[in-house]
């Protein structure tokens, strides 16, 4: 089993590691302590103290905040229960006309706005573009990953979390009453 110094993992994460070395890491058996080092690197870089349970994207993390597990941006903006699609708490900008699409795609490179809309999800705190969706009207936002955190920590890492929550998508619950 391979093992790597945390400084080398940090270089890998930052794209600073020489490509031949990256290829060696890709080809070798994987390091069993990567997750711990990965979380430590991320924890060191954020300006807040809540424990990172799972990095979701380069900007978003599932963290333990008191008794709750919430999604939090690296800037500190909070998006609520990780079992609710965090996009419900984001700012959204939609490009669904030739004019608005032209800021990104022009002429031959422009998709047809009657077939597709480009949705930009942005952090209300720092303005990071968190995700972009290109979908026809009517598509619910993708809930890209709903991790089964308790199983992961208890059965896969052998380090159960202190509390247990149900593994369920609570997005529709959070939207109850929106149309009234």
């Amino acid at each position: 089993m391979s093992t790597y110094d945390i400084a080398e993992i940090e270089q890998l994460v930052d794209g600073q590691l020489a490509w031949p070395r990256v290829q060696e890491i890709m080809k070798d058996s994987k390091d069993s302590d990567r997750f711990e080092k990965w979380v430590a690197i991320q924890q060191k870089r954020v300006p807040w103290k809540e424990q990172i349970l799972l990095p979701l994207t380069p900007a978003l993390f599932i963290v333990q905040k008191g008794a709750q597990r919430i999604v939090k941006c690296r800037c500190g903006q909070e998006f609520g229960d990780y079992r609710v699609n965090w996009k419900l708490e984001a700012l959204i900008n939609v490009r669904d006309s030739e004019e608005t699409l032209s800021e990104v795609y022009r002429g031959r490179e422009q998709p047809d706005p009657a077939w597709i809309q480009v949705r930009e999800y942005c952090c209300p705190g720092c303005g990071t573009q968190l995700e972009v969706e290109a979908v026809p009207r009517g598509t619910p936002p993708d809930f890209e990953f709903l991790p089964d955190l308790d199983t992961y920590y208890r059965d896969w890492l052998g380090k159960p979390l202190p509390d247990k929550v149900t593994f369920e998508d609570k997005t529709l619950d959070a939207m109850r009453g929106w149309s009234t």
Partner: protein, 731 residues
Amino acid sequence: MTQTVERTVKDDLKRNDLLFQETGCLFGLQDLRRKAEDPGKYEAVWHILLNICNTAWAVGCRVSASPIAVEGGDALWALHLPTGEAVATSKGITAHPGLLAAFIRSLIELDYEKAPGIEHGDVFENNDAHYGGIHPADFDAAIPIYYKGELVAWASGVSHVMDSGAILPGSIGFMNPDSFADGIPVTMEKVGENDQFLPSYEMRIRSRTRMPDWVMGDARGRLAGMITIRDRVIALIDKYGLDYFKDVMQEYVEDSRRYAVSRVKTQGVPGRIRKSNFKDLAMLGKRVIMPQQNVDLLFNLPLEINITPEAKVKFSLRGASGWVPFGQNITPTAIVSALLNAYSHIVGFDMFNSGAVAAWELDEPPPGSWANPYPVNYFAASGVAWAPAVMWMSSLYETFGRVYYTRGFIEEVAAGAGTTMTAEFAGINQLGMYVAGLTLEQASNGAPARGMADGENSAWCIYTPNADFGNAEVSELYYPIVYIGRNVAPDSGGYGKFRGGLGHTAVWMIKNTPGVEYSCGCAGMRSKVVGNHGMYGAYPAWPDRASYAHNTNLKELIDAQQPLVHESGDPVEPDLAKLIKAASMNLNVVAPFVTPEQLVEYDIVIHPISGAQALGDPIERDPETVRDELDQGWTRARIAADVYGVVAKDGKGDWTVDAAATDKKRDEIRNARKARGVPFKDWWQQERKRVQAGEGMADAVKGMWRTSWELSPDYGAEMKAFWQLPDDFTY
């Protein structure tokens, strides 16, 4: 008196299935005994088997006739257990081992042992999607391997032929309206004996394909590769013994299953993954074959993956839209094989074979959908069945990338894939010979962005790890075309912190022909829409659009030594329009299409091959990387400024970045995003009214939702619950 009943391979098949159910291990192998006893020997024999398959690939491709196999290597050879499971495969089109395994299994299940019998020297073949094939141009073949009278293995081979005898010339039958138009069927047949093809097989190819010499040449290539495997496997058994060979053949498959499971468990995270994706097929008003094809369609390609606590991976296509009256329907059997291909890229293998299939499950795709058409339309066409499947598979790269990211295996992260837009020519070539066939351009896309780097340019392909667009001179040898451009296409890999590998553009001049048709085909492309692949805030790569000019002034320009057209150029003012005059100028053509007119001398075709998808917020891209790509012509000034937020100054091709101004501009972009963005709930309340009214939605969009909801009522119910629409709402 007791009657002895001879044990059949079919009996073994049933026993194996039962053992897997009982033990969770393939063939009931709870221990890998041979591996444990002598791991070095176990590994050595594995590599011998791989070398045998790759030798078959080299021999088979060289014996083949078509440039697709000879130059592009669009073929594969494999070694199987008697019951069909693929054990070792060559390089080549790795989407096929699953199909070849299913083909051999079907021969056993259909009692071919009894009739017509399975003898040494027999050749079996199938290209019929109704019986496990994928599309008619891919001929799947197999020969039995006997050792001292016992069936001990199979050798298989597949190659993509130039013409499958479909209603239109060539091998990318996207226009086929139904299976009757798909072309020559070879339906689970014994097509050869004594290592030779039967006369009836060759006679059928001669009467039912447009390029019989090349189609037969490819058949002989498949057979040569399979005989190579057979002869060398027999020599290997002579050396290592039959018992050892039989044991390790099974252990390699079980070993692969264990590897796939353990990799998910040690590098993934359990949970639910969802990714929507879409693909258009806009044919309204174009040249089609049947009236019902005069229609615009949008495919729903939804992917849901559940990684269970046991690290089992369950795939679902719940919500897939309906079958289409074109050659773009695929069967569940073929999807399993496609998944194996994607798995080989994403999960990776020490031993790539059928074992991984046992590590996951695919829910039956909605009956009547593009992914399972036969329960509703048994005659649905499959001329290029890969088309929707490869777009769907593209989501697998991104979604697994997201899972690997959470666990910190950033070197394994990949964004979505490029698309597969093909170019075929049909007509008389410079030798006075009729040709119909595929160029190889599509076999070399950009590679997906990585978690920590850009993707490679023109060096990757979703359907084969052997990305190779072949030598231009070889395509010129077969088809009446001259390359006047083959260039990296700037900004074709999406816009992100890390961009996808860039694609390229081929520019062809038609030459030395009285007339030729250009088919800009869909083997998995988008032209009206872009892929839903904005990973971590990146913008997706743009749609696939081709251009062509008919009856041009190119000869005058050449004679006068004036500039020609060598690339697409500006998307609003393309080079073709700026530099060339033509009686018929077709810019920005929505693909796929077949030219309604014969192209003639000095006509021009501009055919782009897509890059792959990007990753990360574009304004986090390293400004120095942007500067470098401005210098190289790989990104354009407007994109650098408006999308990447880089303030740079042009010193006549030698750009410099103003770092302070760039920081300021990027802050302005962040602030502008916050200013124009609206809270999701506010947007949802307005958007809900538009969704309910069908406002700003093409008919193709509404038609897609209608069939998705009909075929997957639970999917429809969840979507309507999201928009809080009545249960009976429809378009």
